[in-house]
């Protein structure tokens, strides 16, 4: 599906998104809000950073669901990703780790998530576990063992300040006004996410593997008849989704610089928002990334409101992304899911 096809098939969606933007802009003008104080270059940067973990989890989740397995455990994989990235950084570099330690830790966190995702995939594909219950379980296990790791290492559910990733500054290009600062003097993890989103789109819609994944979710019998092992395709997609969510958690940690394990941990619903992001994006990796940017922007509004002098209690402004999710699901909730989601497939042979 190309971008134009996508726009054509989702005219209502694209149209209403555009209408929403116009409406918000009109409201801002009418209420005499300081738009330039809210939409600043810093805001775009922060919104992109906030969007990356959500986008990564969303892209992973949509692969799993396209293949027929609803990975509702994204949130849990993100908790593990964040906790493990923090733990490995700490074990490698102690209180003053280098950037190399941090990158190694991100890689390690992804590999550990792959291991957990293999267990999850075996339970859901091989042992036909209830996908919803097993996914919830991953979240619970993450909420338990993530903070557990923190307490074992640091004696507290929160880690001390560890390390955050340095911005990648491209010489010359970073001097371009606005765009330079947003794209060429930014977190390399934002750029990585953009690359992964495009790659995920290409693989899903332009390669054989992508068609296999789509077929595994839409019509597993046909795929089986064509001689492709449905279980194997689903294993790959589910393991990929765990890896992406784990990467999302690790990226969240690398941007924040320390692990927070109180309450619902630092992940705080981002995995769930990721699911909504890909539903909103019609299971299209680029659409999901765009939706993630919307949620990331809402997440960062609080700082903008403060600098613009808009006096709303933080606790309430923090709820914007969650309210947005409910609104999105209300108007776009009945997205058509792949036909065979949630159904274990048993080959005839």
């Amino acid at each position: 599906m190309s971008v134009t096809d996508y726009a054509a098939e989702n005219r209502v969606r694209v149209g209403s998104a555009a209408a929403l933007v116009v409406l918000v802009a009109a409201a801002a003008v009418a209420l005499d809000l300081l738009v330039e104080a809210i939409v600043t270059v810093g805001f775009v940067e922060r919104a992109l950073q906030a969007a990356t973990p959500i986008a990564l989890a969303a892209i992973g989740g949509l692969y799993a669901e396209k293949s027929g397995v609803f990975n509702i455990g994204l949130e849990g994989f993100m908790v593990f990703g964040a906790a493990n990235a923090a733990a490995v950084t700490w074990l490698l570099g102690g209180g003053s780790p280098s950037q190399a330690d941090l990158w190694l830790a991100i890689l390690a966190a992804v590999l550990i998530s792959v291991a957990y995702a293999v267990v999850f995939a075996v339970l859901t594909v091989r042992y036909e576990a209830d996908q919803i219950v097993a996914g919830l379980a991953v979240w619970f296990v993450g909420l338990g063992f993530g903070p557990f790791t923190a307490v074992v290492l640091w004696g507290s559910r929160n880690s001390p300040s560890i390390a955050s990733v340095n911005d990648l500054t491209v010489p010359v290009l970073s001097a371009v006004p606005v765009v330079g600062r947003i794209l060429f003097d930014a977190s390399p993890l934002v750029l990585l996410t953009a690359v992964l989103a495009v790659a995920a789109w290409v693989v899903l819609y332009r390669t054989r593997y992508g068609y296999w994944i789509q077929a595994a979710g839409e019509n597993p019998e046909a795929l089986d008849t064509a001689g492709v092992n449905v279980a194997r395709v689903r294993y790959a997609a589910v393991i990929f989704s765990g890896a992406m969510a784990g990467l999302g958690g690790a990226v969240l940690l690398a941007h924040a610089g320390s692990f927070i394990g109180t309450g619902d941990t630092m992940v705080n619903g981002r995995g769930w928002i990721g699911i909504v992001a890909y539903l909103f994006g019609s299971y299209n990796p680029l659409g999901a990334a765009a939706a993630a940017l919307l949620f990331g922007g809402l997440d960062m509004l609080q700082i903008q409101f403060q600098t613009a002098g808009i006096d709303l209690p933080n606790r309430l402004v923090n709820l914007f992304p969650y309210v947005a999710v409910v609104v999105v699901l209300t108007f776009w909730g009945s997205t058509r899911m792949p036909a065979a989601v949630g159904e274990p497939y048993e080959s005839e042979e």
Binding site: I72, V133, P147, F148, V151, R315, L319, V326
Partner: protein, 377 residues
């Protein structure tokens, strides 16, 4: 289903319901027990791997759960809350509606109960009679508020197709945020340093029977068991309950025999939320006596999901499952004070229980190989 034959559809529904309601209780007990045992084993392995003594940990678990009268009262206190929230989850899950929002409904019910009691207290006589009246009114307000807060995602699911798992989780965050804001500001008791509401009057309390504990009353446990009994009768002996259960498991057959699926979803969510609201009221009155920042009131509504799943979403099964989780949480409190093993381990074990319960096939495949019988298949 080619031609219209409501009689045949009804028969299909009956068969489905029979299968579901009777489906080998033994099998479920085996799966639940095996899941719990396996989760505990993994937990002990983690304890050992993290460099603590697993046997000492196990000893602490038993001591913390049943060691003395205090421990027992604490276990029963947690069990009361787990049974109530567990039934709230079970009602919804049994009907095929994934209400993950019990935590939020529990919070909304609790704070509404406290506010109702505080606002109504001046209008009613003090003393026992007024206390009882306030308890009843506060609990009713909590049930209404919890029910309404659950009806919202029910309506969104039934009429807009919004996935209730995600909306209820979002509404949990929203409930915690809004109530947190309210107790910090508008509802904060006068002169309170901590972000809490005022205390409810002294005479509004559950009487201490048998246990001399400030935050557990046998009356609270009795309320929980009464709710279990009522729900169990509603689910198995009334038309409403029957429609709920069948539409959860045989949606098409249920629709075919004349059940309004959308309305059933809303009714299920409302009933589930009302019970969660009652759980919130019991927590507010029996345990706290005021309402505090909900991000720190405990995650009963989440753990209730594990309780319900362990009970195979059977309201009666929630009682033993709630006791087990009450014991685990009570042990967690004890371990938090008396041992240096991080209590978060208990949460992890709860998660593992759910993971294993989700995959009964695992035991069906593994059990014969490991030489266990115990399966009537």
């Amino acid at each position: 289903m080619s031609d219209a034959d409501p009689g045949r559809a009804r028969a299909a529904v009956d068969r489905a319901a029979d299968r579901m309601l009777d489906a080998s209780v033994l099998q479920r007990v085996v799966v639940a027990t095996a899941s719990t045992a396996l989760a505990l084993l993994v937990g002990l392995a983690v304890v050992a791997a993290a460099g603590y003594d697993p046997l000492l940990f196990l000893g602490n678990v038993f001591e913390g759960a049943f060691g003395d009268e205090n421990a027992l009262a604490r276990t029963l206190k947690f069990a009361t809350l787990f049974i109530l929230t567990g039934v709230a989850v079970a009602v919804a899950f049994r009907a095929g509606v994934f209400n993950i929002g019990v935590q939020g409904q529990f919070v909304v019910g609790g704070v509404v109960c406290v506010v109702a009691i505080l606002r109504l207290a001046p209008a009613l006589p003090t003393g026992t009679a007024g206390g009882v009246a306030l308890l009843v009114l506060g609990t009713a307000a909590a049930a209404l508020a919890g029910g309404a807060y659950a009806a919202l995602p029910g309506v969104l699911k039934a009429y807009a197709g919004a996935n209730e798992i995600i909306t209820t989780i979002m509404l949990n965050f929203i409930a915690v945020g809004v109530v947190g804001y309210l107790v910090e500001g508008p509802l904060r008791g006068e002169g309170n340093r901590a972000p809490n509401t005022e205390r409810i009057p002294e005479y509004v309390e559950l009487p201490a029977v048998a246990f001399d504990s400030p935050d557990f009353s046998v009356v609270g446990l009795a309320v929980a068991l009464a709710v279990v009994a009522v729900v169990s009768v509603v689910m198995t002996r009334t038309d409403v309950g029957y429609d709920m259960v069948t539409s959860g498991h045989q949606e098409r057959a249920a629709t075919y025999s004349g059940v309004d699926a959308a309305r059933t979803v809303v009714a299920t969510m409302t009933l589930s939320g009302m019970i969660a609201g009652i759980a919130g009221a019991v927590f507010a009155v029996m345990v706290q006596g005021y309402y505090s920042d909900p991000s720190g009131v405990g995650t009963y509504g989440f753990d209730a999901i594990a309780v319900s799943l362990l009970a195979a979403n059977n309201p009666l099964g929630v009682v033993p499952a709630g006791l087990l989780f009450g014991a685990l949480d009570s042990a967690g409190t004890h371990i938090g004070i008396n041992s240096d093993v991080p209590v978060q381990l208990i949460d992890g074990i709860v998660g593992l229980v759910v993971l294993f319960v989700a995959a009964p096939e695992l035991f069906r495949v593994v059990a014969p190989r490991a030489g266990f019988g115990g399966d009537d298949r």
